[in-house]
């Protein structure tokens, strides 16, 4: 038995003895990053090892493993968790000219600890046969009585909703947003359930008329190989909210390099690769996210939605107001 355990330990520590490599803890699902990592390995000869999981459990693992953690990079799909990792002092400062050049200032950390890698917007979607576009205006307006029993949105346990509310707290203050939250919840057509695609399907099926989703889910369904997805998505239109005020709520998927990184050079190389043209084009073409590099072309679906005004709020604030947002959502009964 003991022998066997030793053998196991030996086998599984062996793999970390390779030459050039970089190790990632990723909250981004394997399928949505692996092709890029493979390309990186092909170009540089650096092997990439990855463990995927939920951001918070990865944070917990990093905290427990402490300075001996094998991970070099933490990759997340939302800025709030990047800020949380920074608050827990897990990241180190990175001076990369390229990263600073490509990534707009509000999409990276002021202390150079985390960097946005791709952009997503949280938009209003609606059923054009039941909603007059002119009735839509802002996130705030969704609390209006005219939307009673007409709104679908996923659970407040989802970090995209938390970040939207956090951004609103930063823009309007806690009191105003709490009142808004009560109104919004009383307008729900059904208790929150499912993911963003579910809200799109629910609107297409007539359960509700208006919803809140990340833009790439709608694009993904429009371009899906499954006919039912395309049929549903075609019944939906996208609306850019807050165009005359703060602008559309934006979030990033991003990464930071860990304090204890043993492969810092390779890790920086990988981050630089991920903001490079090849990777950014891939984000846009495969996952319909907006490129962090404003000079690059977006995919055709994204272009069809036209230009829009984005909220230029410092994303750090989304992390700082995350807990306030969640407690607020508990109080207003957003399940």
């Amino acid at each position: 038995m003991i022998k066997y355990i030793h053998l196991l330990i030996f086998l599984f520590t062996l793999q970390s003895a390779n030459a050039a490599e970089v190790n990632i803890y990723s909250a981004r699902k394997e399928a949505l990053i692996k092709p890029l990592l493979d390309q990186f390995s092909k170009e540089t000869g650096i092997a990439v090892n990855i463990v995927t999981g939920k951001a918070d459990t990865l944070l917990k693992r990093l905290e427990a493993e402490n300075r001996n953690t094998p991970a070099d990079i933490l990759l997340t799909v939302d800025v709030a968790r990047l800020v949380r990792a920074k608050e827990k002092a897990l990241f180190q400062q990175i001076d990369s000219k390229l990263l600073n050049q490509v990534i707009p200032k509000n999409y990276r950390d002021d202390d150079k600890q985390w960097f946005g890698l791709s952009l997503r917007s949280r938009v209003i979607i609606y059923a054009p046969d039941r909603v007059d576009k002119n009735d839509l205006s802002s996130y705030m307006d969704l609390a209006n009585e005219k939307w009673i029993n007409r709104i679908c949105v996923r659970s407040s346990s989802n970090v995209y909703n938390q970040s939207l509310v956090a951004a609103m707290i930063a823009n309007y203050g806690l009191l105003k947003v709490e009142r808004w939250g009560r109104g919004l919840v009383s307008n729900f057509a059904r208790p929150p359930k499912g993911g963003d695609r579910d809200q799109i399907k629910a609107i297409a099926a007539g359960v509700c008329d208006v919803g809140l989703v990340n833009n790439y889910y709608l694009a993904g369904m429009l371009e899906s190989s499954q006919k039912s997805d395309v049929v549903a998505a075609k019944k939906i239109r996208l609306f850019w909210p807050d165009q005359s005020t703060h602008g559309v709520h934006m979030n990033v998927s991003g990464a930071g390099i860990l304090k204890s990184a043993k492969n810092k050079k390779e890790a920086i190389q990988l981050l630089e690769f991920l903001v490079g043209d090849f990777a950014q084009q891939w984000y846009a073409d495969t996952n319909y996210e907006y490129s962090i590099n404003s000079k690059l072309e977006n995919s055709s679906v994204l272009k069809s939605w036209g230009k829009f005004k984005a909220d230029e709020l410092n994303l750090d604030l989304l992390g700082q107001h995350n807990i306030d947002a969640l407690m607020l959502m508990d109080r207003v009964g957003w399940k």
């Binding site: 355990i5 196991l8 330990i9 599984f12 520590t13 793999q15 970390s16 190790n23 699902k29 394997e30 399928a31 949505l32 090892n49 990855i50 463990v51 995927t52 999981g53 939920k54 918070d56 459990t57 990865l58 917990k60 693992r61 427990a64 493993e65 402490n66 300075r67 001996n68 953690t69 094998p70 949380r84 659970s155 407040s156 346990s157 938390q162 208790p191 929150p192 359930k193 499912g194 993911g195 963003d196 695609r197 579910d198 399907k201 629910a202 297409a204 099926a205 007539g206 359960v207 499954q226 039912s228 549903a232 995350n322 807990i323 969640l326 407690m327 508990d330 109080r331 009964g333 399940k335």
Partner: protein, 541 residues
């Protein structure tokens, strides 16, 4: 004996470390968070968890015990096939059956879309059961968890002496009376083991209720932890969950305190299955076929239907690796779980001190804790150990050991054991209880050692239960997701992880392929074990 005892205490303590961490959190009360929870969501969490528990408990007893009795005692069309087929839903993870039924029956699913197209109705014009609801969650969990009760109930019915039933007949009981007044009470320890597994599994479930938007105590733990970023309060919630389970188990034990369940007669005449009349046979067939259909045939057909479209994209070289990883983990863990459980249950039988009892109970609590909480409870002490060792080696020998155990398969298997030892211990204990202590005493007078008694007397008598225990753990590990997700090494995926990642991106059709693979791998041991239980009737070789 003392060496056995200290080993027992050592093993128990080792596997209780995660529990200790969970309970340790109680010493640091987080008043602020609790006040927030109490004022907002706590009532909802508790109410939903309670309703879920009662619902799943009731329905899984109903569709577990009755078919078990029917297939054991009667012959009717397909009864032979149903004996093993009724176990099949066990191989379907709860979150997968939830995804499948949602995909088919949801408002945007093919059935309702077609309905609207044919009739011209709008969404609000007709009533249709909402899959993603509390009721839906009860249905889903009952459909995949009832086999625990079925399996143990059937094994108990098979092991019962027909003589006892025949005596009940002579005393004027009809068939139903014999079932209600003799067979059912005799099978109670086994059925209760099954029920407590169901209860614990239900409390620990996160995937299904989260997907259905039902806020339970367990989703609350995750929300407190992830959302509010307060792992201490989350651990405290887990501790309360455990207290609830402990009280439930204690009350169950106490309520049958005076009763003893070993076989009183050692005469076993062969079980004469009564052939049912045509009408009764069809009714029995329907009763037994319903849970099998809804728990297995329908969801698996849907999965196959989806997989046909996508298997070419999903199957690749690395898919076989997933297959191997899942099998490897399930096999290793089930062997270890049975070995450890046998040791613990047996030590407890031979030395029924309070300490031993507490130790065994402690280790069997892990099943009720959500996998994520266990994983963190395993992660923290092992990482601490690794880091301390590393510090020590650097200071004294200038060698760095890095992380020795953390991030290896070893820690993963350890976490599985913490979570699933309850399954093997409960199953094996229930079997040991039925062996009369007189047998041990007689064996001792012939000069046999404890270990020999175990090997040559008890183990052959419990062969069915040992196999059952290993099967249960095997299938459980195959389906396990949250702990695997947190603790696995780099580039290490299992079928469950792959299924989750695809399903979580709402790519149900793609997720169908690895989901089917889990089901297929799970079916094989289910069939093997079922056959061996049929043959395990005492008095038959």
């Amino acid at each position: 004996m003392t060496r056995w005892n200290s080993l027992l205490v050592f093993i128990s303590l080792l596997f209780s470390i995660p529990l200790a961490i969970v309970f340790g959190s109680l010493f640091f009360p987080e008043y602020e968070v609790w006040e927030h929870l109490r004022a907002t969501v706590l009532i909802d969490y508790i109410g939903n968890s309670f309703a879920l528990l009662i619902g799943v408990g009731f329905f899984s007893l109903l569709i577990g015990v009755i078919p078990a009795w029917l297939v054991t005692m009667y012959r009717f069309p397909l009864s032979r096939q149903l004996e093993w087929a009724l176990l099949l839903p066990m191989s379907v993870p709860a979150y997968i059956i939830a995804y499948t039924y949602t995909g088919a029956l949801d408002v945007a699913g093919p059935l309702q879309v077609t309905l609207r197209e044919i009739t011209g109705w709008q969404y609000r014009d007709y009533w249709f059961p909402e899959v993603r609801s509390l009721g839906g969650a009860i249905a889903m969990l009952s459909l995949v968890l009832y086999p625990y009760i079925y399996l143990l109930a059937r094994a108990a019915f098979i092991e019962q002496s027909v003589c006892v039933l025949e005596v009940s007949r002579t005393l004027g009981c009809n068939a139903f009376g014999g079932f209600r007044r003799v067979a059912l009470p005799l099978a109670r320890p086994a059925i209760m083991v099954g029920l407590s597994l169901v209860v614990m599994e239900t409390l620990a479930d996160y995937g299904t209720v989260q997907y259905f938007g039902v806020s339970t105590f367990t989703t609350g733990i995750f929300r407190t932890w992830f959302g509010l970023g307060n792992s201490l309060a989350a651990a405290q919630m887990s501790a309360l969950l455990l207290v609830f389970v402990a009280v439930f188990l204690y009350l169950e034990k106490r309520s049958r305190k005076q009763a003893r369940y070993h076989h009183t007669s050692s005469r076993y005449s062969s079980l004469m299955q009564q052939r049912l009349t045509k009408g009764h046979g069809v009714i029995a067939l329907i009763i037994c076929a319903a849970p099998l259909s809804f728990g297995f045939i329908v969801p698996v057909s849907l999965l196959i239907n989806w997989a046909i479209d996508t298997y070419l994209d999903v199957l690749g070289k690395d898919f076989y690796l997933l297959f191997f990883n899942s099998l490897f983990l399930a096999f290793i863990t089930s062997m270890l779980a049975v070995g450890i459980a046998l040791f613990m249950a047996y030590s407890n039988r031979n030395n029924q001190s309070l300490l031993n009892k507490i130790m065994v109970r402690l280790v069997s609590m892990g099943y009720a804790i959500p996998g994520t909480v266990i994983a963190v409870g395993v992660l923290i002490p092992f990482a601490w150990f690794d880091n301390s060792l590393d510090n020590f080696l650097i200071e004294n020998f200038n060698i760095s050991s890095g992380l020795l155990i953390s991030g290896t398969v070893f820690i993963l298997v350890f976490a599985y054991l913490v979570r699933f030892l309850a399954v093997s211990i409960n199953t094996i204990e229930a079997a040991l209880v039925k062996i009369k202590p007189v047998m041990d005493e007689v064996a001792k007078t012939t000069g046999m050692h404890t270990i020999n008694i175990l090997r040559s007397i008890h183990m052959p008598m419990m062969r069915g239960s040992l196999l059952t225990a290993s099967l249960l753990v095997f299938v459980d590990v195959l389906k396990e997701l949250p702990a695997t997700l947190i603790l696995r090494p780099f580039n290490f995926n299992t079928l469950a992880v792959r299924t989750y990642e695809l399903a979580n991106e709402e790519l149900l059709a793609e997720a169908a392929v690895p989901a089917l693979a889990i089901v297929i791998v799970g079916i094989i041991p289910v069939i093997i074990i079922s056959n061996s239980i049929s043959r395990s009737r005492p008095g038959h070789g």
